[in-house]
Symmetry: C2
Subunit: 317 residues, 2 copies
């Protein structure tokens, strides 16, 4: 019994679902549209309905399920309370309790922040496999983080654990970040930040660059590709973006000192080229560390969340 666990990664557009064996093999995965109407009250019932079908199809009985883990895009309080998840319309709900009831009260459920569970997923079956102390960094539209120490998520006393996207890292920054701060890492090293930085370079310097033809259509991928291909302006601006990230990872080492950093998110598709840039700066700002943390790429892509949600249930103690 308890041979399976279920991961439910709730996102603003779709809910990713997966059934796993207890040792991390993904048996089945599917997506459910996120119905945000009426404060997102249909989201979990929709998921439960589909989940029941998939369990029936696979003839998996409820008794054989260790639990259902749910990832939420927003802060989750230690008791599982979600005060607000803006992308879902949720306010003041306990998603684990609701899911438990929807499944007939027979399956244990737990809830976690989506960035944190993604970190757990990468530690379980991804780039951080074999480590107990790691930080996952997600370079997407924003910069997210998930910190795991001694195998446990560090959610933080105010839900700000591993919110590294909002670390103040740049003194000379004229624009405000969405959080209200100025000079946040996210403003420099997210996909959006990488583009902004490149645009700044294009304005500041007159040198020719393959980036100039794109205008408003410039993306982080284009900047990374051009930098790889030797475009000087693209390289210098990306290098500066990754310097900020390197400095922040060095700070993380001087606070929580993880064994490994796992870099994921869309931007990380730039691969080892990007990793080398980050590592160069990380090492420059950790002279005190004789042995440095490792830097690796995430391997689970968009599935990290469902892996982590499933693992959440095996983590319970």
């Amino acid at each position: 019994m308890n041979q399976y666990c279920v991961g439910i990664d709730v996102g603003g557009t779709s809910v990713k679902c997966g059934i796993f064996t207890y040792n991390g093999v993904l048996l089945d995965k599917w997506e459910v549209m996120t119905r945000k109407a009426e404060n997102g009250k249909y989201i979990l019932p929709d998921v439960a309905e589909e989940l029941k079908k998939h369990l029936d199809e696979k003839t998996i009985s409820y008794e054989d399920i260790a639990g259902i883990g749910i990832g939420v895009p927003g802060p989750v309080e230690p008791d599982g309370h979600v005060r607000v998840a803006v992308n879902l319309g949720w306010k003041d709900i306990y998603p684990a309790r609701i899911m438990r009831e929807l499944m007939g009260g027979r399956i244990p459920c737990a809830v976690g922040n989506d960035a944190n569970v993604a970190a757990l997923g990468e530690m379980w079956q991804g780039g951080g496999r074999g480590f107990q102390n790691m930080m996952m960094v997600t370079l997407g539209t924003g910069v997210g983080g998930g910190l795991i120490l001694n195998g446990k998520i560090v959610a933080g006393a105010h839900g700000a654990g591993a919110e590294i996207g909002h670390i103040h890292v740049r003194e000379v920054e004229g624009e405000r970040c969405a959080c209200g701060g100025m000079g946040c890492l996210e403003q420099v090293a997210s996909a959006t930040g990488i583009v902004k930085e490149a645009e700044r370079f294009l304005r500041m310097f007159k040198e020719p660059s393959s980036l100039r033809i794109y205008g408003k259509a410039l993306t982080a991928k284009i900047v990374c590709d051009a930098a790889k291909e030797g475009d000087q302006l693209a390289y210098l601006s990306l290098d500066l973006s990754m310097r900020s990230l390197g400095i922040v990872l060095a700070q993380v080492s001087m606070v929580a000192d993880p064994e490994i950093f796992v870099i994921g998110g869309g931007v990380s598709r730039a691969g080892s080229f990007l990793l080398d840039l980050i590592r160069k700066h990380y090492e420059e700002y950790t002279p005190i560390l004789e042995k440095k943390a490792e830097l690796v790429l995430a391997t689970l892509g968009n599935d990290a969340g469902i892996y982590g949600c499933a693992r959440l249930m095996l983590e319970k103690d």
Copy 2:
């Protein structure tokens, strides 16, 4: 039985020792000179000899001692190995094993880094009492830190946990830190850093200041006192030093998100005036936090170490 625990805080000049009841009452304390000759091989035997005398005097039998905790000025590996403690001359030793043997093999012993055990002490009976997630910041000759999450010390995978003194915080810094880096927090916000910052202000600005008469005799205490008394140059330079500390504490919140920061060390004697300066900047750089961490002063002074060492033994699980 197990009514007592012993704390041994090994420093470069003296070893502080204390006998505690299991619930944190300090019954007896004394100091032993640190004999650094022959790679510090006499330090622990000297301590053990004195400890036996004190236990005899108090007629405390070994069976009634839960354990002896030892604090070491240097990194301690997870297995208790101390690769090097420069201030003691120690190289490649296991202090807890040695102490255990010296006491007849009957008392459990453990070892921890001195900054970390001081944090544990403040959590047990000092400024952080009642909290399980805290960071202690020691503003002395350097800037030290000790991070505790869920009641446990975060030592870090490479012994760099809470080494916040070496977080890169200032981009425009011409001098090198002892760690090899540039722009470390310690260069700005330690007692030494506060003096350097004030000296810089005195050179940069021509305004009158009560600090000018001191020349080479300027100390952090003089800077803090003058700032309190309204000396503009002293205030502005101290404010800038504490801004760097505030930024770093904000970073810590965005990584480990503790409930409370406990500020200790010689500089913290400047009291609530200093605390208010730090808090002002900390709050400015945590706009994302609706609820902020508390900032309080340490209360145990130089005894924090022995409290924490003693507590180290009760922490074992």
